[in-house]
C-alpha cells in the first residue's frame, strides 16, 4: 500500500479532503499523513473507506466528523466536536479534546488519551468512547446507546436524562444528572470495559470502574412528579 503526505502549510485543506473522498476509495493508498494541521477545522471529515489518516499536531473543530470505516489519529489535541456523528471506524486523539467530543456518534470507537471537555458523548447513539483522562460537565447527556469508559473523573450532571447508553467511570463523579444511577458491575460489564480499554491501548483495571445507567423513570411522563426530577 502506498503512503501519501499532505502538508496543510502548503496545500489547501480541500485538497486533502477531496483526495480522502475520491482517490482514497481506489484502495491504493493505505496511509495518509497530514502535516501542519495548525488547528484547521474539518480535517478528514466524512471519510467512508478503510484508510489510516495520521494528523501530526493540533486539529480544529469537527476533526474526523461523520467518520465511516477509516482510522483517524490526531497526535495533538482536537477542537470542538471531534468524531461528531461517527458511524464506524476509529478516531484516536493522543492529546486532549474540547467540548462535544463524539457527539451523537452512531458507531465506531473514539479514544481520547487526555481529558475531554464538556458534553463529551452528548446524545451518543451507539458509538463507544474511551477517555484516558477526565470528562467535563454534562457528558453523556441524553445518550441513547453505546458505551463510555472514563478513566479519570467526571464533572457535573454526568449522564443526565440518559437512555440506554452505559457509562463506566474509574475516578470521582462530581454529580450524576437526572435519572442516572450507579449499578452493579456484572461480569459482562467488566469484560466490556476490558475490551474497550484494550482497543484503546490504555492500561487500567476494569474491575475498578463503576457502572452508571438510566433509572428509566423519565421514560414515561408522570404528571404527579411536579418538577421533582
Amino acid at each position: 500500500m502506498e503512503r501519501l503526505t499532505f502538508d496543510l502549510a502548503a496545500q489547501p485543506l480541500r485538497e486533502l479532503n477531496t483526495f480522502l473522498h475520491t482517490g482514497a476509495k481506489e484502495g491504493k493508498v493505505g496511509h495518509v499523513t497530514v502535516l501542519n494541521p495548525d488547528g484547521a477545522h474539518n480535517i478528514a471529515v466524512g471519510l467512508d473507506c478503510p484508510i489510516d489518516v495520521e494528523v501530526v499536531g493540533h486539529a480544529g473543530y469537527y476533526a474526523g466528523g461523520m467518520n465511516k470505516a477509516a482510522t483517524v489519529t490526531i497526535t495533538g489535541s482536537a477542537g470542538t466536536g471531534v468524531a461528531e456523528n461517527m458511524m464506524s471506524g476509529k478516531v484516536h486523539v493522543k492529546g486532549f479534546a474540547s467540548n462535544g467530543a463524539g457527539a451523537s456518534a452512531h458507531g465506531g470507537l473514539l479514544v481520547i488519551e487526555g481529558d475531554a471537555g464538556l458534553r463529551c458523548g452528548i446524545s451518543l447513539k451507539g458509538g463507544n468512547i474511551v477517555v484516558g483522562g477526565s470528562v467535563g460537565s454534562f457528558s453523556a447527556f441524553m445518550a441513547q446507546a453505546g458505551r463510555m469508559v472514563i478513566c479519570g473523573d467526571a464533572g457535573d450532571a454526568l449522564g443526565d436524562s440518559l437512555y440506554e447508553a452505559v457509562l463506566y467511570v474509574k475516578g470521582e463523579v462530581k454529580s450524576l444528572g437526572a435519572d442516572a444511577q450507579y449499578e452493579e458491575m456484572s461480569a459482562e460489564d467488566i469484560a466490556a470495559v476490558a475490551s474497550l480499554l484494550d482497543q484503546a491501548g490504555l492500561d487500567h483495571d476494569p474491575k475498578a470502574f463503576k457502572r452508571i445507567a438510566s433509572k428509566r423513570s423519565l421514560y414515561h411522563w408522570n404528571a404527579d412528579a411536579n418538577q421533582e426530577y
Partner: protein, 302 residues
C-alpha cells in the same frame, strides 16, 4: 461568535516584538469576527501624576483627517496644559500631567463626537470596524511594543456594528475587557450600576461586564475577588479576557459555551479562542497547550 486573543511576554527582549507576534493571532480569528477588531496594549507606565488617553475621531466630520495637533494646541491655549499628541489616522494618544477628567470634560464640551477609548498610565487602545487585517494595517499593530495585550475580532450579535461597540471595552483607568459570548442580564447590571453614578456609553452587553468588574476593583476587591463576584452576578455565555497594568486574566462561564485555548512557554503566555491563532508562534510545538476549565480563574502576571 467572536474571537479573542491575548499575549503576555515573559522574556523582556520579546516586548519589542509584541505586536509582530500578535498580528497573525488577530488575523487568525477573522472567520470568528470579520466585522470589527481592536486591541489594548500595556507598556511601561507613565510617571505617577501623568495620564494618557486614547481617542477615536472616526465619528467626527473630519474622520481620519481630524486635526489632532490642533486639538493639542487648543488644550494648551484653553486649559494651559502641555499635551503630547501621537496621531495615528482616526486614533490619537494624548499624554499630559493633570487629572484626566479636566481634559475629558473640555473635549466632551468642544468635540462631542470624539470618543475616548481608554484612560490610564499604561494602556493604549485601538478599535475600529473592518476586518482584523485591515484594522491591524490601519494602525500598524505589528509595530506595537509592550508587555501584554488583549485583542478581539467581532461578529456582532448583541448590538450594532460601530467602532464604539467594538472591543476592547474599558472602564476607569488601565482596565480593559474583551468578550466572546452574550450576556443575558446586562440591563439588570446597568440598573444596579447607574444609580451608583456609573455612566454607560453604549447599549452593548460587554460594556456592562466591563463596568461591573472595574467597579468591584475600584471598591477595593482584588482581581480574583472581583472575578468571583462576576461569576455570581453575570449571567450568560462568556469567555472574558481582561488586562490590567500587570496582569492578564481569563474566565469562562460554567457551561464553557465559548472556546479558549492557552499556549505557554518559558517566553510567553498566549491565549486565543482557537488553536489556529496560536499555530504560528515561535516554539509552539513544544508549548504547554491546554483548554482553560469553566468557572476557573486564570491570572498571569506581566
Amino acid at each position: 461568535m467572536c474571537g479573542i486573543v491575548g499575549l503576555l511576554v515573559k522574556t523582556p527582549a520579546l516586548r519589542e516584538k509584541l505586536g509582530e507576534l500578535m498580528v497573525p493571532m488577530l488575523i487568525g480569528m477573522t472567520e470568528r469576527g470579520p466585522d470589527s477588531a481592536g486591541l489594548a496594549v500595556f507598556g511601561n507606565p507613565l510617571a505617577e501624576t501623568e495620564r494618557k488617553i486614547s481617542i477615536y475621531s472616526g465619528l467626527t466630520e473630519d474622520g481620519a483627517d481630524f486635526n489632532w495637533l490642533g486639538l493639542g494646541h487648543a488644550l494648551k491655549e484653553h486649559l494651559g496644559v502641555a499635551v503630547s499628541v501621537e496621531p495615528k489616522g482616526n486614533h490619537a494618544i494624548l499624554s499630559f500631567d493633570v487629572a484626566p477628567a479636566i481634559i475629558k470634560r473640555w473635549i466632551a464640551e468642544h468635540h462631542p463626537k470624539l470618543h475616548i477609548l481608554s484612560t490610564g498610565r499604561s494602556i493604549d487602545l485601538y478599535k475600529d470596524i473592518g476586518t482584523p487585517a485591515e484594522v491591524a494595517a490601519r494602525y500598524g499593530f505589528d509595530k506595537l511594543t509592550g508587555s501584554h495585550l488583549v485583542g478581539h475580532t467581532r461578529m456582532a450579535t448583541e448590538s450594532a456594528v460601530t467602532p464604539d461597540r467594538a472591543h476592547p471595552f474599558t472602564a476607569g483607568e488601565d482596565f480593559c475587557l474583551v468578550h466572546n459570548g452574550s450576556l443575558s442580564n446586562p440591563n439588570g447590571i446597568r440598573r444596579m450600576l447607574e444609580p451608583r453614578g456609573i455612566r454607560f456609553e453604549t447599549d452593548n452587553d460587554t460594556e456592562a461586564a466591563c463596568r461591573f468588574l472595574e467597579w468591584r476593583l475600584r471598591e477595593g476587591d482584588d482581581l480574583e475577588t472581583a472575578l468571583q463576584k462576576g461569576f455570581e452576578e453575570l449571567d450568560g455565555f462568556f469567555t472574558f479576557l481582561m488586562g490590567t497594568p500587570d496582569k492578564l486574566a481569563l474566565i469562562r462561564d460554567p457551561f464553557a459555551c465559548k472556546p479558549a485555548v492557552v499556549a505557554e512557554t518559558d517566553d510567553y503566555v498566549a491565549i486565543a479562542s482557537e488553536f489556529r491563532s496560536l499555530a504560528h508562534l515561535p516554539g509552539i510545538k513544544h508549548a504547554t497547550v491546554f483548554e482553560p476549565a469553566p468557572e476557573e480563574m486564570y491570572v498571569w502576571n506581566a
